[in-house]
Symmetry: C2
Subunit: 525 residues, 2 copies
């Protein structure tokens, strides 16, 4: 399967006539064919119009039909075979094993959402039966279910060309909720996007769904994306990317005559707390685990551990020495795009040139273009607390170790942090009291708190929260990974005193869908 350079509007393949996007192989700097001419605003409106038409029936598709569609998308993606992996390798510089794993995750995620759709927990069915004898006033029959919000705009991320892109978590969860999806493709991997988009398009046709259930739009610059979020038919937005990009979409969504929710996952430095007993007992081992997490995927993860905190002393010095050694031995890795590499160089350069920051180690210098030379830096907690610039995310393999005078200062640093996706404790039994004292702060700062592991590697499951307080995300009440992600694209509707013949199936007597229900406040399976 070879990419053709087209956008996909419903079942049509469309070649735009605006400024052209060209994929670049970051490992060589080579420009990859084909070109992707951008669409104009009219094309955006056409995709949204088709999505609105599709919404009318797709939102009421049966649980089985919708689940089968998600499974079909997974099968169609797998059916592309090695063409997809090779194209993604060329466009991202990511190694084969990583991309094969990511494809597995993407398809697994689609199949998880198929099971979520079938289980029907997301309907959140609540039934309060009529109480005709209640005094002073009888109660009428009241039933609640959740319905799909409407067409959703999804912005693919650069760093997960499969799992957070065209058929990634946002798309899978929106489709699971019953929302048609219009994807704005990320310009960094257009061929990969098109191949996956064609797989979704094929699944739509195979399942006999209305074509507007899925469209994929290419456009250079921000115009198409802004037009998409501003389109009155779009009812929610999923985005993974930079803080500036997310904030721009939030502003557009709020300025609409009808504001809509934006689920933007934006930035995080994912603090790691080295508690004293653990640091003392296994500082070297922790250092090695840390550098492995730091270097994973050239550090291009939103959960990359960019900040490490420890109490000054011999144990922390030993950690720094071991981590520095590991960083110094790190091979250079190709970054995703020339732009990301340039921003990384700027970020690392700013740290290296900062008067209050000490360079601990740099990784090996790369031989190819756009390679990331890992960086490890250190600063005092006192300086960190007085200089917001030290909290800025450097996207890539770069971390800052903060040397705290004592546990109290470590606590103050924790309290000074912006909202994060994750917070990690490296701890042993002897650290339990310290950890217990930190935990209330950490759970207010992050969506996920973990111990004795590393934040990279986000499990796709029911309990996952890939979210967190602003500015980690635009909406701390939600997650963009895991089955609860479906809740972002739903709203409740109450049906009062409806005749049986009008009730949606989920709410009918006898529970024909077999879903869990809250009846008079009591959970019934």
């Amino acid at each position: 399967m070879t990419p053709q350079g087209t956008s996909l509007i419903g079942q049509q393949a469309v070649i735009g006539d605006q400024a052209v996007i060209r994929a670049i192989d970051p490992a060589s700097g080579e420009v990859l064919a084909p070109e992707y001419p951008g669409l104009d605003r009219d094309a955006v409106a056409r995709a949204c119009q088709l999505a609105e038409v599709a919404y009318a029936t797709y939102r009421e598709s049966s649980l089985d039909d919708r689940a089968a569609f998600l499974e079909d998308i997974a099968a169609e993606i797998e059916a592309i075979g090695d063409d997809l992996i090779e194209r993604a390798m060329a466009e991202t510089g990511l190694p084969r094993a990583r991309l094969e794993g990511e494809r597995g995750r993407t398809c697994g995620q689609l199949r998880l959402f198929a099971s979520v759709v079938r289980a029907g927990e997301w309907l959140d069915v609540r039934i309060d039966p009529a109480l005709p004898e209640r005094a002073p006033m009888p109660r009428v029959d009241l039933r609640q279910r959740h319905i799909a919000l409407g067409p959703v705009a999804v912005f693919g991320a650069s760093n997960f060309p499969l799992a957070f892109s065209v058929a990634g978590g946002d798309t899978a969860s929106a489709l699971a909720a019953g929302c048609p999806v219009v994807v704005k493709a990320h310009s960094a991997h257009p061929g990969t996007s098109e191949l996956v988009g064609r797989a979704v398009q094929a699944a739509v046709a195979k399942c006999g769904l209305p074509e507007g259930v899925f469209s994929l739009l290419f456009g250079s610059g921000n115009e198409i994306g802004q037009a998409l979020v501003a389109d009155p038919r779009i009812q929610a937005v999923g985005f993974t990317g930079s803080r500036r990009g997310g904030q721009a979409l939030m502003a557009t969504a709020q300025a609409r005559p009808q504001p809509i929710p934006v689920y933007a996952e934006m930035s995080s430095i994912n603090p790691v707390f080295l508690l004293p007993a653990a640091l003392q007992a296994r500082g070297k081992e922790i250092a090695e685990g840390f550098v492995a997490s730091l270097n994973m995927g050239a550090g291009q993860f939103c959960t990359n551990p960019g900040l490490v905190l420890g109490v000054k002393g011999e144990a922390l010095d030993a950690f720094l020495a071991a981590a520095g050694e590991a960083v110094a031995a790190s091979a250079a890795q190709t970054m995703l795009t020339p732009g990301i590499h340039g921003a990384y160089e700027d970020g690392v350069g700013a740290l290296a040139g900062h008067a209050k920051v000490r360079e601990v180690a740099r990784g090996q210098v790369g031989e190819g273009p756009h390679q990331c030379q890992a960086g490890l830096f250190a600063a005092s907690a006192a300086d960190f607390l007085t200089d917001d610039a030290l909290q800025a995310e450097v996207f890539g393999a770069s971390a800052l170790v903060i040397e705290c005078a004592d546990g109290a200062e470590m606590q103050r640093v924790a309290e000074s942090l912006e909202g994060q996706l994750t917070a990690t404790l490296q701890m042993d039994d002897g650290d339990l009291d310290t950890a217990r004292a930190l935990l209330p702060t950490l759970e207010l700062k992050a969506g996920r708190v973990l111990t004795n592991g590393w934040p990279t590697g986000v499990e796709v499951c029911h309990a996952m929260v890939h979210g967190g307080p602003y500015p980690a995300t635009a909406d701390s009440r939600t997650t963009s990974v895991g089955s609860a992600a479906i809740q972002r694209f739903l709203r409740p509707v109450c049906y009062q005193n409806l005749p049986a013949g009008l009730l949606p199936e989920a709410l009918q007597d006898g529970n024909p869908l077999g879903v869990s229900r809250l009846v008079d406040g009591q959970r019934k399976n």
Copy 2:
């Protein structure tokens, strides 16, 4: 118990030194003692600071302690006795029976949330146990619960001086979630607000909770309210009132360095669809039910039926005649405030003077000040579809009947509507197909769809949705009435691989709280 003219900041009674609020008896125009001098911004900051301090422990109060606190608030409100009813009557012009009923609803609501807290569904506990043998990668233990968002600002509404005010639904659901509450009192019923505020304050003391769990602020104008929403410690806002007021708070909340959610319930005209068979069979009976709903509480309900749609013809003419007769016989009723009465007069005047609107009937002229003379108007669907002004809410007993050429035009009017709190179908068996065709449109326009009843009278239960698409509310994903209202003030946190000694009680093995859990995606009670 006599009101003292004070704000309540934690356990302190504070007399402000800014512009004064004076209660007015709308039935007589008489100014009621005491005066309520407004607070300044420093006082707002003090209340928020206390709320933040209280949040640290209150958010982790045990389910039983928190439930007992909500029950204590109800008991303290009841203990005020008739002083509360008499003060509320004087400040609002509402009759005794209504206010006694509203007190019952308010206390019932607090007790409902006590039972909701104890049941623990709101924790949304999810556990994905470790799978150490899983290939290619083991899964670590992941557990999710919901925690309180933080201090919440609540704006009391004028039209429910008890049930949507100081200890109303927003306050009860935020406290249930574990959020301290800072209430900005509505200036229309300051004495009632203070009495209820003192009841909450007493319950805080009795339960040994930190004083910042509750504060009540008075201030004339918008300055105090805007300062409250802008305060960095406030993490969410509950508001019931005008569209302009809600939009102003939304703008302030979005402009903060950290934007926060605003749950504003703003405006709705609550369309009622008279389907042909029902209209034919029982038009007169429907007309009487409609006018009773229209006049309830002088029409000062957000669910007041302000728009009626029927197909032109003899049956609709008969309905109009019967409804007109009932409106003409309607006694005048005192409105809540001079300002609300003035706005009602302006709104009704605009309809009466509109070239495309015909006056069907007006109610009896009042003898006292600030009385609402009910209004019934009619216009064609064609005119309604081309003039947005006809969709404007007139707060009070005023309704517009839209005469549609046929069912298709009725459908087009339904599609043209803004977001609503409710949509009502008056239907008989013969209308089932028509109703089935309309329902998909109505559930996209409203939070609650009801048949053969009236939208006024909002049941406080588990299945209720008092919400709806913008501009009915700021956030269609939520409800401000019923047990699901608690979800507005929560966010999920995931705990990965935590040692047993660190796990929050809700997530511990053995389920010590006895709450419903989703284990590996399966519901376990």
